[in-house]
């Protein structure tokens, strides 16, 4: 029996969906957890993808930071667990 923790991924696995939503490479963006104020790159967030959508949790306190659901009616994005997001400067590469 696989536990929820065995099925846990990280923000790297959500990179495609995040880039689709934000229009930028987001795994190096910095997010501040609204619950505990820990600052993490999005690649380090814990990702749970077992349900109908994606849930991104803080690696320090495991509070829900981002919820994404892609449905036939459109993509729903709930970011209320993120106090602040800092996107990297556009790269010159």
């Amino acid at each position: 029996m696989e536990s929820e923790r065995d099925l846990m991924l990280d923000g790297n696995a959500a990179a495609g969906v995040l880039q689709e939503i934000f229009g930028e490479e987001m795994t190096t963006a910095l997010t501040t957890c609204d619950e505990c104020a820990t600052v993490s790159q999005m690649a380090m967030l814990r990702v749970f993808s077992g349900g109908p959508g994606l849930v991104l949790r803080c690696p320090a306190c495991e509070a829900v930071m981002v919820r994404i659901a892609q449905t036939p009616r459109g993509t729903f994005v709930d970011v209320r667990g993120v106090r602040q997001m800092r996107l990297p400067l556009p790269s010159i590469r």
């Binding site: 099925l7 846990m8 991924l9 990280d10 790297n12 990179a15 490479e25 795994t27 190096t28 690649a43």
Partner: protein, 245 residues
């Protein structure tokens, strides 16, 4: 790099059996762009009734190989995408992909080193792209790979790793956790603090560390690298779980 992610059609150019249940697919891409080693592609399969499933696969090949990428597939029980890629796909098949994706778990020769790579099972794939890239550009960055597999026959890319070790100075340390062939000289237990410290010894705190594998291995190896004095920002991790589902 501001670039809209667009789906494109990939054509299966070759299929190679890596181990009894792991295969590498070479995908030809009309809109190929060079990736950064460690990046992945999303693959989308759509059924006739419109139902679609999407998963991400790390690129195993080096960006110096133009026009095509390798992905390596380990079938996941009850998965939606991997059984198709593992069982059904034949050369000439086409499906949708988008990428390259990701900017965190990436290493290019210009990033320097010394480089400590730690992998468990199919977590070797993105690290292989880094090792092949290092060899393709003739980089002299010292590099060590600690790779955990269940048994000798489960070692993915075994011959290619031997070649990288012999020709390109990649130092490869295998550990076999479940069974070992007679006379096995390598490690024979799960990756632990002592093993990481031993492999990283010549690099010390200067190491740039990339760890990819199941969560338990990733957390053990990351803690061990920190205990060996490597600053947290020099340790990058990627957890794979059912990404291949």
């Amino acid at each position: 790099m501001k670039r809209t992610l667009e789906w494109q059609i990939a054509t299966v150019k070759a299929i190679r059996q890596e181990t009894a249940n792991v295969k590498t697919l070479t995908l030809a891409l009309l809109k190929w762009v060079p990736h950064r080693p460690g990046q992945h592609y999303d693959i989308r399969l759509t059924a006739e009734d419109g139902y679609s499933a999407q998963r991400s696969y790390s690129i195993g090949s080096e960006p110096e190989r133009h026009g095509e990428i390798d992905i390596t597939v380990e079938p996941i029980r009850d998965g939606e995408v991997s059984p198709f890629l593992d069982d059904v796909v034949v050369v000439g098949d086409r499906f949708e992909v988008r990428g390259p994706i990701g900017g965190y778990f990436v290493w290019e020769a210009s990033d320097g080193g010394p480089l400590l790579l730690v992998a468990g099972g199919s977590g070797i794939v993105p690290l292989m792209a880094m090792a092949r890239h290092r060899a393709a550009v003739g980089a002299t960055v010292p590099a060590r790979l600690l790779y955990s597999s269940r048994s000798f026959d489960d070692i993915i890319y075994r011959a290619d790793l031997d070649a990288l070790a012999n020709r390109d100075g990649l130092q490869v340390f295998h550990t076999l956790t479940r069974s070992q062939p007679e006379g096995w000289q390598g490690f024979a237990r799960r990756i632990d603090d002592r093993m990481v410290a031993e492999v990283n010894k010549p690099f010390g705190p200067k190491a740039q560390v990339f760890i990819c594998g199941p969560t338990a291995l990733v957390e053990t190896a990351a803690d061990a690298a920190e205990a060996a004095g490597v600053a947290a920002e020099r340790i990058k991790t990627e957890r794979f779980g059912p990404t291949g589902a």
